[in-house]
Symmetry: C2
Subunit: 142 residues, 2 copies
DNA sequence: TTCATTGCAAAAGTTTTGCACGTGC
DNA sequence: GCACGTGCAAAACTTTTGCAATGAA
């Protein structure tokens, strides 16, 4: 999504467009991978030297609530986010903790696993999480 | 798995069978749902009043490493475990944080989503995580 | 006996909160 | 100007670590 579209979306929801929010939105758009709060903070502090972690947490929460980013299910380490909100899977390396995207060519097949008897559950997001060892770590472990 | 089988497995891997480990294994077997470390601690402290969190963390880590329990991918709140290690999905309520099991009738269909070009990744676990609002919270939110 | 494991306490790391001040609208 | 958002500092939590004492094999 274009930055100005994201900004427009936030504005339409009644959020104020602060330079800190815009900066974080820009950083997330340019960032490759799956940054954590700490990583976003380290980037945004170069533009806004006085910004605090509390603000980063606040902005990330707003962006997640509005569906602009997605929190990644991740049992180890701390929270990470994905600015790709289209359904796809994640591979989490048990050794280095890195998160890899899995292209969900067969997403439709996966959708079928949601049982019909659970219709009372309101589905917001749908994520496939695979854990294991990534190729790099496999080499190192040998 | 029977407690004595779990104990035998640990013993065969060279772990010592301490009363604390046995107590936690027993608690996990009897516990319904998806306890966190804190919850396990509150149960085990009734049998071993001097046990410390560090020991609970230690035991849970051993059990997870040996495939006796599984850590649940969970971006919010703290780590939770599942003593059901057979592949199945989880529904995580964004409102109350509870974890519901999803019977994976269509697990085979889901397996297909792992792309053939990612053969260099070693898959340890495969989990479907769906987030949304559970029926109870939906009622409360109305 | 021996060495893995425990309990404790402290440290490290993550996330939340309260509040005064600043700023977008 | 008003109310929301920010920055700061402290608090609340979660998880890890170092080490002396303990106890399973």
């Amino acid at each position: 999504m274009e930055i100005k579209d994201t900004v427009a979306l936030l504005k339409s929801k009644g959020y104020r467009i602060t330079p800190q929010r815009v900066a974080i939105i820009r950083i997330l758009r340019d960032h490759e991978g799956h940054p954590g709060v700490e990583e976003v903070f380290r980037s945004v502090i170069q533009v806004h030297p006085n910004i605090s972690m509390a603000t980063v947490y606040n902005v990330m929460e707003v962006l997640e609530k509005e569906g602009i980013i997605k929190a990644i299910a991740n049992s180890k380490k701390s929270r990470r986010y994905d600015s790709e909100v289209k359904p796809h899977g994640h591979f989490i390396c048990n050794s280095c903790g890195r998160v890899f995207d899995i292209p969900m060519k067969y997403y439709e097949a996966c959708l079928k696993v949601f049982p019909s008897e659970m219709t009372d559950f309101e589905v917001n997001s749908f994520e496939l999480t695979i854990k294991g060892i990534c190729p790099d770590c496999k080499k190192k472990l040998l």
